[in-house]
Symmetry: C2
Subunit: 206 residues, 2 copies
Amino acid sequence: MKSEGEFGATAYTMLGLLSIRPMSGYDMRQMVGESIGHFWSESYGQIYPALKKMAEAGLVEKKTESSEGRPDRHVYTLTGAGRQRLEGWLEIPVKRGVVRNELLLKLFFGANAGAGVNAGHLRAFLEAEERLARVFAGIAAQLTKERKSDPQLPFWLITLSRGRHDALASIAWAKETLAVLDGLDAGGPVTQNEGQRKREEDGHGA
Amino acid sequence: MKSEGEFGATAYTMLGLLSIRPMSGYDMRQMVGESIGHFWSESYGQIYPALKKMAEAGLVEKKTESSEGRPDRHVYTLTGAGRQRLEGWLEIPVKRGVVRNELLLKLFFGANAGAGVNAGHLRAFLEAEERLARVFAGIAAQLTKERKSDPQLPFWLITLSRGRHDALASIAWAKETLAVLDGLDAGGPVTQNEGQRKREEDGHGA
DNA sequence: GGGTGCATGTAATGGGTTACATGATTCT
DNA sequence: AGAATCATGTAACCCATTACATGCACCC
């Protein structure tokens, strides 16, 4: 079952990146890591073959730039056909992919874990999310300054905003859950629900 | 590079499920769909071979139950060795898996989309998350009643709570973002950041 | 001399879903 | 009559990461 004809999400990612500016496969890998790495990933093993196929199909155009002393760059440009394909793909409703969250899996089976194990995972997670939240805040601030007039800026901020909302929700949940685990150890049949109900009211007031 | 010796996450999921009660592969698939489907997935094509391998390794024990008129059930039980393996796995720090969020990808390239396309995706997402939030609330309520004394209940509620936090954060972000998109159409260089800062203070107050 | 960055590509490997094969029973 | 549920299992396929192969230049 093929969802979008002969090209998959990787190919459309490449088209999208080329809509920003002409690039080489190497550049794309860099951008995936730096700019969209928080919600997307691509590896060379996907990128290069995809580029080849798309060049054959006329969606991108390849030009070789030689500079002395280092490898040739194969710079790709978006063609008219390529841009059309991209626009078409953007319209296709998003089907949510399968989630696989190992932290939640381990917590689900947490009754089998030794003392402190669950809390340990949660603390590590909490720290990571707090770091992430700061990173997002930093990038947003920097981007807002440096790219003030870029027409794509608002869309980049949207994805960053999502990252922040997520991180903050994760932080709140992790703290709450650590408290619940504390209560379990102490003995009382404690209170996952009070925390939840309070949050829910907050959320609906948005 | 193998992370956990010869068994992957699928196998440990099976061990975890068997820690709840003896089950057949079919039962496991059901449970994955119903109970942990919001953060995990497994298919028959993974489950049956994994079970076979683990039986050979002595981590689970297989008993065949025959009932007339319908297929045999191969019911598996956790062995001592299996339980030990599970406990060991639970202690291993969680490495966060790669994320691939197609909605965010499309929004990132949203400047290339026709009028209303981005907002359309967001509204669909918003609805889905609102439905989800209600589902989580329902399950939590039901579970709290019906499994009042189950020692694993708190851990199930923890994963549900995570789902709720996530859904509520998604809802808030989606609403905010729809407003931002509205602003873009209207013309003003509007305000992703005011919304974000307000949320952030709320979050830190938890 | 050895790591890192630049730069392209292929092959091996792994993890996962879907489709297929089989077959009785029960619900619509 | 036809679909869905129960139940197990294999084979084909797809998508993706990692390792490998190559090679120059620059910095420590």
